[in-house]
Subunit: 276 residues, 2 copies
């Protein structure tokens, strides 16, 4: 693992690191904020998964999460959204290929050799973090935005016992029924739709739910509303009597202005679960 | 004036606007955050002047100021750092020309036709803001970073009675004695150094000081320390018995991670003065 940069931030450290990923067969970059408390001993870990076109840097620079993670003494890891590089498959569209890994393990060519983002976020990166940093890996929570909200919800429900809480900002909530989903799931996983169900938050909520609290915020003025399908997830949460809240936030759109405005709430929500 | 974008942010509105500037002889862009209270009536105004290479957008996206301006009910205006465009003079160096206006009125060619940033920030933009938005123009404060800290301090001292408080993050504190200053002041103002003194915060502090509180934060690990010359400003503040604080912040560098970490303090400092 190499250090790309480290900047003091809110008395802690905002780092950027690269490492050779086995599962993605290439170098991967991630951001990690460590609060001041990490100098004294292990701290809880919050994951933030980003949306389409993003790298680790977007949320690191724009989400304003460091202030609140510092307040609660929580580390924040910011993975990239896909493998990258000249030797990695790509597509001209912004919503497929590099920057659009969708947090799945691709089984189809040309994506299969590098696009193993589920295994990267679920297994390889946690192992690296546990080895390299002062983190309490039995106290983890996860959040994300848009495609990253999809990732957060599907990883939380797909890995029972791993995360104590899950939240999402405007998640892609029902990708098997949306153009943000059907295109990518067929490209990465093939045409057998039964294999897609493990990557659809609404279907997973209907099937099993999450063993902990869930917080969803969705901007009412989100211009991607129809692609996100928030109403299907809200219905599934209520039908399951899921512990948690699905909130529609008046006037907010899909941008980081929305995310940063609600970030304090989300970090406090996770802190409650992590320190319970 | 045209609206480029408006995003709901911390219950208020983060807007970006363009307008035809007479003094800069071309279109200028600025950001303006309005807190929710601006819907009810005029609110106080904080200026944030940015540093070399920045546009209005850097601080808007990375400084995290909206959270604290919303908390205190204060508007935040984010001007650009220079005129821009294909017909505007420029230089290959990052620290001269477009993105590097230094908040002066250029008297020398090729800069004179467009580079009138002092008049733009001191007169034209305030007039526009007063006409277009719900702002209490008798309650203004100013801050800035690096070149923008230089701008904030020189405008505050150069326009007595205009601003109730001034702060700066790692300001260019003594440009007449630094390579971040001598190069630009000679290019924009010519070789008569007596004309430079009205654009040097340390010289102005020695000469007259500021009729209100001053807050300076300077990162101890700032790699531009020698260009900023913070010690000269600190000395001048104490010699004048200036109301205010000059603080060296251990471990912090010159980045927006430094700015965002201290922003809550700066906005609270200005709120105290604006509501006094």
């Amino acid at each position: 693992m190499d250090i790309v940069s480290q900047n003091k931030s809110f008395a802690g450290s905002q780092g950027v690191y690269t490492h050779a990923s086995k599962v993605c067969a290439g170098d991967m970059t991630f951001g990690l904020f460590l609060p001041e408390e990490a100098n004294e001993g292990p701290v809880p870990l919050l994951w933030y998964l980003s949306g389409l076109t993003c790298t680790h840097a977007n949320a690191m620079e724009k989400a304003g999460a460091q202030a609140w993670c510092a307040e609660h003494g929580i580390a924040l890891v910011l993975p990239d959204t896909s493998p990258r590089g000249d030797n990695v498959a790509n597509d001209e569209a912004y919503d497929l290929g590099q920057g659009a890994g969708f947090y799945v393990n691709a089984t189809q060519d040309p994506w299969k050799p590098h696009f193993q983002m589920w295994d990267y976020v679920a297994h390889e990166l946690p192992d690296l973090l546990a080895n390299e940093f002062a983190l309490e890996m039995d106290r983890q929570a996860i959040t994300g935005h848009s495609m990253g909200g999809h990732g957060a919800l599907t990883l939380a429900m797909g890995l029972p016992g791993r995360f104590r809480s899950v939240s999402a900002f405007a998640p892609i909530a029902n990708p098997t029924a949306s153009d943000w989903g059907r295109k990518q799931l067929s490209a990465y996983l093939g045409d057998d739709e039964s294999l897609w169900a493990a990557h659809d938050a609404t279907l997973m909520m209907r099937e099993k739910g999450f063993d902990g609290p869930v917080l969803i915020d969705q901007g009412a003025d989100d211009n991607f509303w129809d692609l996100l399908r928030p109403e299907t997830l809200a219905e599934a949460m209520v039908a399951r009597k899921q512990d948690g809240l699905h909130r529609v936030q008046k006037g907010y759109d899909h941008s980081y202005y929305f995310i940063s405005s609600l970030m304090e709430d989300h970090v406090a929500f996770h802190a409650d679960a992590l320190y319970a």
